[in-house]
């Protein structure tokens, strides 16, 4: 009994710094609608700065001063980030903001290693709180008790700030309706900056306060950001008390899960998140979100299948790609094969994201399931490649069948987080079920049949499968099924009113995307000859996401280009420099700022502008004035047609933020599934 009490207290202590980081993320999201992926990096920065500063300054004043200064320094850095980066991208679709802050995270990871080195750094103990207190015969670190008090104190302080100050009232008002707040004479620019500063300060403080308990290391940003996302989603986005409640729940689950069920300790919070989201799709204390400000994929330039000149160009490139083995060595062929696999993987995600508007943060689950399906069939069942290779897509389809049923019931960020949760669940099964999957050691010796063995033959096999897969996915996009999928993406209510079964259409898309991802994973298993739990993990999901965004979220097959560019760049950078993440991050940030429509989106915009023959010339064909008839200026149509969904030119007349968002903020009319 005593032991449980102590364990409970340990959990509460962990909850505090988790709550600090999570409340910061929640506040930032509530007002700016930016899902700040770099929040974990700011947390990490707070910890590292605290290490340095506590090393410089001694004594109790020095320690607490260092903690505070570290958090403030992180806040200043956050303000600079907001002014230099985020202000430029408030008008672009939400996902690009996520991508931009992801790029920032990559940069900071390498910067931290550059400054502080790759080793874990241990901070000093808090002066005056070094000892332990006897509670029920067990000793509890005094610092833990201090942290336990910290959480509720910060919660109370935040409550007072938001309810008893004018700034807080303005922030809460802006959370609901930014344009109205602007019309009442409030400069949102500085409101956003101050909110961002507060949120980042809390992250930095959380990181710094954690120091006496844990070391600072350059991987902590990713582990904390995942936990913070989970907390914020369980608690409900934008709800600070929700974040507190969820931080306590998650920390206690961690504290007790490890005692009760050590095997599933890693996955238990994700299981809880999945359970919460299935029962309460907007988190414990969250409220139903309005429609996303800018639906991904909605475009005023309707897609078309490739026209003959474009087809010829693509065919030419394909012939070139097919001839690669005649002039490339084995290493180059292996790289090219890997890129082709990711082309298929990324394109399968694009079907979901762009055509379906379903942004998955856990697409690697199906990629990894494909790999494991093959590996298990080949190694455990000793099947030859021919039947075994089909086990991959089949297992992925099965996974998508089960998980898809749950996830398509949610929307937006919550959908993304539930897909992430399922991916983490699959990952931890692969990681923990050592008897079957080999756990961390993976499954080795998965080699292709001799008929397709060797770099050249396997390249050709992959080439054929990837090209066929991409063509299939394109055909689907322009099929009646694709139209139905786009219809539910653009206007769920209207689509349902004309008889489209939203859940079934999206579920089907989920399964199709999962199957193609599984196909890519199956090829990947044979390429590498081995399968590891990593294939299911977050970095692979993020890679796919970045490829789609890089290529262009508003394009049909931008992912193909995105995958080639991203993968080639990543592989090349790793071979050239130690700081590949720094450069990759800088490239991503630069791209988000300069060409938020992605590479393919940017090129086709350029082509439209100069009327390049390969571009789809549309404007001359449209009868003059026809658009006026379609787009009558009554409010309802305004929001549904979605012509304001293209990122508006930055700062057009009114500073970007105000400019783009009003025409498409119809939260009142778009009702999501309860």
């Amino acid at each position: 009994m005593e032991f449980f009490v102590v364990q409970f207290l340990t959990g509460l202590a962990s909850a505090s710094s988790l709550f600090l980081a999570a409340s910061g993320l929640s506040i930032i999201f509530g007002v700016t609608r930016i899902l700040n992926f770099a929040h974990g990096a700011f947390y990490m920065l707070g910890a590292y700065l605290a290490v340095t500063l506590t090393g410089q300054w001694s004594g109790p004043l020095g320690f607490w001063g260092a903690i505070l200064v570290a958090a403030l320094a992180v806040a200043v850095f956050g303000v600079i980030t907001e002014i230099l980066l985020l202000r430029r991208i408030y008008h672009v679709p939400e996902l690009f903001q996520l991508l931009g802050t992801f790029g920032l995270t990559l940069i900071l990871q390498d910067v931290v290693v550059l400054i502080w080195g790759p080793e874990d750094l241990i901070g000093p103990r808090a002066p005056g709180l070094e000892g332990a207190v006897e509670i029920l015969g067990q000793s509890v670190p005094t610092y833990d008790l201090f942290l336990i008090v910290c959480g509720p104190v910060v919660l109370a302080a935040l409550w007072l700030l938001f309810h008893r100050t004018r700034w807080g009232v303005l922030v809460r008002a802006a959370t609901q309706d930014r344009d109205m707040v602007a019309a009442l004479g409030v400069n949102q620019k500085w409101l956003f900056t101050s909110v961002f500063a507060l949120g980042v300060f809390l992250a930095g403080l959380g990181g710094a306060l954690q120091l006496p308990r844990d070391s600072a290391n350059h991987m902590m940003d990713l582990s904390i950001i995942v936990e913070v996302f989970v907390v914020v989603v369980i608690g409900g986005l934008g709800s600070v008390p929700g974040a507190f409640l969820a931080a306590v729940i998650v920390s206690e689950l961690n504290a007790f899960g490890i005692l009760v069920l050590p095997k599933i300790s890693i996955v238990i919070v994700f299981l809880v998140m999945a359970a919460v989201l299935v029962v309460r799709p907007w988190g414990l204390l969250g409220r139903q979100e309005g429609a996303p400000r800018q639906a991904p994929g909605a475009t005023i330039h309707p897609w078309r299948p490739l026209r003959p000149p474009q087809q010829i160009a693509v065919a030419g490139m394909l012939v070139l790609a097919a001839c690669l083995p005649f002039f490339a060595g084995n290493y180059a062929l292996n790289v090219a094969t890997e890129i082709l696999i990711f082309v298929l993987f990324a394109q399968s995600l694009q079907l979901m994201m762009t055509v379906g508007g379903l942004v998955s943060f856990g697409h690697a689950a199906y990629f990894g399931l494909g790999a494991y399906g093959v590996a298990l069939a080949a190694r455990s069942l000793d099947l030859p490649m021919m039947p075994a290779v089909f086990a991959g897509p089949l297992l992925a389809l099965l996974g998508a069948f089960v998980f898809g049923w749950f996830t398509v019931r949610l929307v937006g960020v919550y959908f993304a987080m539930l897909t992430l949760a399922f991916a983490q669940i699959v990952w931890s099964i692969a990681f923990q079920w050592v008897e079957v999957t080999g756990g961390d050691n993976g499954i080795l010796g998965v080699w292709p049949a001799s008929a397709v063995g060797g770099a050249t033959r396997f390249y050709w096999l992959t080439f054929v499968v990837a090209v066929a897969g991409v063509i299939c996915l394109r055909i689907l996009t322009f099929s009646p099924f694709g139209y139905a999928l786009r219809a539910v993406r653009d206007s769920q209510l209207r689509a349902e009113a004309i008889g489209i079964d939203r859940l079934r259409v999206q579920w089907t898309a989920f399964m199709i995307a999962g199957t193609f991802a599984g196909t890519a994973g199956a090829l990947f298993a044979y390429l590498k000859g081995s399968v590891f739990p990593d294939y299911l993990a977050i970095p692979y999901s993020v890679d796919a996401l970045v490829m789609v965004l890089l290529g262009g979220i508003e394009t049909v097959s931008g992912a193909v280009v995105g995958a080639v560019v991203y993968k080639a760049l990543a592989i090349w950078l790793v071979s050239q420099t130690e700081f590949s993440k720094l450069i990759l991050g800088a490239v991503i940030v630069g791209l988000v700022v300069l060409a938020p429509e992605g590479i393919v989106g940017y090129l086709s915009k350029l082509a439209r502008r100069i009327k390049w023959p390969l571009a789809s010339k549309r404007d001359p064909e449209r009868p003059a004035g026809s658009s006026e008839k379609i787009m009558r200026p009554d409010k309802e149509k305004e929001s549904a047609v979605g012509f304001a969904l293209k990122p508006s030119p930055a700062g057009a007349g009114s500073g970007g933020v105000e400019a783009g968002s009003q025409e498409n903020s119809p939260p009142r009319m778009t009702k999501a599934e309860p």
């Binding site: 009232v169 303005l170 809460r172 602007a182 019309a183 783009g660």
Partner: protein, 234 residues
């Protein structure tokens, strides 16, 4: 002139909504912007406060061109806007809703305090601590106007203030708006309801298909049933 709008054009994407819209409001005057649903009334008002990104034309407010200013700068110059769909902050109390709109007193414009506004809208006085989402539609409409008045504006754009209100509340609304006018506020009121508009307005402009079709005094319009029937009759 308090507000002069010249050659205003506005678009949403490919669709042009306003064509060469021009009108002016004098100091302390009330102008009715009349027209059917979808004629472009709301877009005109939203363009003036800078909420339509794609617009051209000149908007002169108190001798200054505000057409290129961001929305909050327009609000800070004393040009208030009351949207038709109310847009109350539903999670904030009535008092907090007023707080969001608060701006310092402005020379040449009437100064409002919460107490003075509760006199103007007695219904609101009893619900100071009630959440904005928990009051009736009529009370929300009053709160929207009161919230804008907290900025001590010298001109207020009212977008269909009588829409969807019970007849009794419409009367109260008309009385409140007349009281605002007596304080010296210039008003632009977009309306479909001619009876309501004529209670308040001195001049009228009729807009149809995004173009101005008529401009004159309210009295002339009343004497001219053909115009009324052509552009306003349902």
């Amino acid at each position: 002139m308090k507000l002069t709008v010249s050659n205003l054009e506005a678009r949403y994407g490919q669709a042009q909504i306003l064509f060469d819209v021009s009108f002016a409001v004098a100091e302390g005057q009330a102008l009715a912007l009349l027209g059917r649903n979808g004629a472009g009334k709301s877009t005109t008002l939203r363009s003036i406060v800078g909420l339509v990104a794609d617009r051209t034309g000149a908007i002169n407010f108190q001798g200054e061109d505000i057409a290129r200013l961001p929305t909050h700068e327009i609000g800070r110059r004393g040009l208030g806007w009351v949207p038709e769909d109310r847009r109350i902050f539903t999670e904030l109390t009535v008092t907090e809703n007023l707080e969001v709109g608060r701006q310092p007193p402005r020379p040449g414009a009437p100064t409002w305090t919460p107490e003075k506004l509760f006199e103007l809208f007695p219904n609101l006085a009893e619900m100071r601590q009630r959440l904005g989402g928990r009051i009736s539609g009529g009370e929300q409409q009053m709160l929207t106007i009161a919230r804008t008045l907290m900025g001590n504006p010298s001109l207020v754009l009212l977008d269909e203030p009588s829409e969807g209100l019970a007849p009794k509340i419409v009367e109260q609304m008309a009385a409140a708006i007349l009281a605002m006018k007596r304080e010296g506020l210039a008003l632009v009121i977009s309306e479909q309801n001619l009876r309501f508009a004529r209670l308040i307005s001195d001049r009228a402009v009729i807009i149809e298909m995004g173009r101005i079709r008529y401009a004159g005094t309210m009295a002339e319009l009343e004497a001219n049933p053909e115009i009324r029937d052509a552009y306003l009759a349902v």
